[in-house]
């Protein structure tokens, strides 16, 4: 549902069915809603059977990369005698993205159950849910749910009486966007600076504590119980667009729409329908200027691209952007897009871990140029310089934070050049930067 709003007819509530229902947070309330049946079922299945079911569903990673979940699970070694770990990435911090937060605070047991099933699939006993430090309310709710699940025997040395050990531990982050990058998250969980690691080795070979590890997003894992309950075919059938994009997707919409919130759509819903129908469209008297559809790291879309776009992995890619995390930032014609791009660059400069030269220095430099342009001190050559720096920041670092900083700058200059030129020529009055 488009929490905090009622279900809209354009939506397909699966994960979001119980958002806003306080009782669903409790163990009893969750069981009354069919909870833990999927885990019971999974406990009778072999890891291969679980993996095959998830593969058949077409579920793809909901954190941003869209990698097929079943395939990722199948990379985990068999009979290697090592401990395996499941990490749940609840470090939701991509600007514009707040969909996992609703799962964490409204249906924590869906996530716990998904973790337990995922752990069975990859032959792990221990799952860690790494939740960002700023999510104080979701943390307390999630921890309470985990405690209840242990008390009820759903977790522990004899999960649901199966004789199998399934542990779920909640681990709090402490303020670092980059810890949403999977290897940075592992470093952080190990008690280190959250620096992304060089790959290879990939987590399935050497991940958390040097052991084979799978890391999945909250929404991905929360979808798994539904797939086991209702079958892969049902999930794969939820598709309005490209058959490679199946199921439902939580899209958190923010910015200049009438009803910002977290909407659950069937993959392939036209983006226009989401923005103009489900979200109620623009604020009175305003028109659409731009949309960043998948969290701040993806290219900015123009209204024409939005109109032509269906909301799934392939559909958004066809319009030159990415579905990413499903964090949709909508900007109307009142938006100073140069200022907002500056503000995004500042975000990445603030969050750069400092390892790679291009990112450490490039994000800061990019920000300072954009700030200068906004202050009215831009030079004609600045746009070319920004584009060249963006090239030097793209595809050259350990992780993609550097690329993410470059992306809105490049797409912004390409698609909204006139806005930049207005600052450069003095046609637009300089603005104050920051608070």
């Amino acid at each position: 549902m488009g929490y905090p709003h009622p279900i809209h007819s354009s939506e397909t509530p699966v994960l979001s069915t119980h958002f806003g229902v306080h009782e669903a947070r409790t163990y009893a309330g969750w069981v009354a809603r069919g909870g833990y049946e999927a885990l019971r079922k999974a406990l009778t299945m072999t890891p291969e059977q679980i993996v095959d079911e998830v593969k058949a569903s077409g579920l793809r990673g909901r954190g941003g990369a869209g990698f097929p979940t079943g395939l990722k699970w199948s990379f985990m070694p068999k009979d290697d005698g090592k401990p395996h770990y499941l990490c749940c990435n609840a470090d939701e911090s991509e600007p514009g993205t707040f969909k996992d937060r609703e799962i964490l605070r409204w249906t924590p047991h869906a996530l716990i159950e998904g973790c337990a099933i995922g752990a069975l699939a990859i032959r792990a006993e221990v799952s860690y849910i790494y939740i960002r430090g700023e999510y104080t309310e979701p943390y307390h709710i999630l921890q309470a749910a985990v405690d209840e699940a242990y008390a009820a025997g759903a977790l522990g040395p004899n999960a649901l009486g199966s004789g199998k050990r399934l542990e779920v531990f909640v681990h709090r982050g402490a303020g670092a966007y980059i810890c949403g990058e999977e290897t940075a998250l592992m470093n952080s969980l190990e008690g280190r600076r959250g620096n992304p690691r060089i790959k290879p080795p990939f987590p399935a070979v050497s991940g958390l504590f040097g052991q084979p590890t799978t890391i999945n997003n909250v929404e991905t894992l929360a979808a798994v119980p539904h797939i086991l309950n209702r079958g892969a075919a049902w999930y794969a059938g939820l598709c309005l667009g490209n058959p490679k994009s199946t199921g439902t997707k939580l899209i958190s919409v923010c910015g200049h729409v009438q009803r910002p919130g977290t909407y659950e759509i069937t993959m392939g819903l036209p983006m226009r329908e989401l923005i103009y129908d489900a979200c109620g469209g623009m604020l009175p008297g305003r028109t659409l200027k731009a949309v960043i559809p998948g969290g701040s790291s993806v290219p900015i879309m123009t209204p024409a691209e939005v109109d032509a776009c269906v909301t799934d992995y392939e559909g958004i890619a066809a319009q030159g952007s990415l579905l990413g995390s499903g964090g949709m930032i909508v900007m109307d014609d009142s938006t100073d897009i140069v200022y907002q791009i500056m503000r995004l660059a500042r975000f990445y400069a603030h969050e750069s871990c400092a390892q790679c030269t291009n990112c450490r220095e490039g994000t800061g430099w990019t920000t300072r140029i954009l700030e200068r342009i906004v202050r009215g001190e831009g030079k004609a050559s600045d746009l070319d310089l920004l584009m060249d720096l963006a090239e030097n920041m793209t595809g050259k670092t350990i992780c993609v934070l550097s690329d993410s900083c470059a992306t809105p700058v490049v797409s912004g200059i390409q698609k909204f050049r006139a806005d930049f030129e207005a600052y450069l020529s003095g046609a637009r009055a300089p603005a104050l930067v920051g608070v």
């Binding site: 104080t136 402490a174 923010c254 910015g255 975000f347 920051g434």
Partner: protein, 166 residues
């Protein structure tokens, strides 16, 4: 390595707090993994992480103070200086920025008396920090005050929010 005495520090990890930390130890194969949880406990107990606490945590987890300091400074939520009685984090990243977050931040500075970001109000009541995306973009503008997550704050609504914190 020469180790000098640091300022007097009343240990955090005694009695129940120590027991709470050690209860977490079996969750992880290393002691280092207890670092973030331990620092959270320090901050919960003292409001900030002092030099003395850094040394205490380092000794407890068999790490060096420099290592612990490197980790602390990576994360934005640990305070290495004392802060006001109530610590306010206000998000001004683009999605909230579009919806007037900077006005909210300015209102906070004005009504708390802090004047500047990162400083503590003269009465010691508040410290206001501008932070990056709090992950509640649909509920602009969100604040975190101490442990409370507050959604949908407007500049006009700031005095009413502050009134709840004495």
């Amino acid at each position: 390595m020469t180790v000098h005495e640091t300022e007097s520090h009343e240990p955090v990890f005694v009695g129940e707090t120590l027991a709470r930390l050690e209860a977490l130890a079996p969750r992880y194969p290393t002691r280092m993994a207890l670092l973030l949880p331990a620092l959270w406990m320090v901050q919960e107990a003292r409001g900030w992480v002092s030099d003395g606490a850094i040394h205490e945590v380092a000794a407890l987890l068999e790490l060096t103070p420099a290592y612990v300091r490197g980790v602390i400074t990576f994360y934005t939520m640990y305070h290495t200086h004392p802060v006001g009685r109530h610590f306010i984090q206000v998000c001004t990243t683009s999605p909230c920025n579009l919806c007037g977050a900077e006005d909210v931040a300015r209102a906070l500075l004005e009504h708390t008396g802090c004047g500047e970001l990162g400083t503590t109000s003269p009465d010691g009541r508040f410290t206001v920090m501008e932070v990056e995306c709090l992950g509640a973009c649909g509920f602009a503008t969100p604040l975190i005050i101490d442990d409370d997550f507050i959604e949908g704050v407007t500049a006009a609504g700031v005095p009413a929010v502050l009134a709840r914190y004495t």
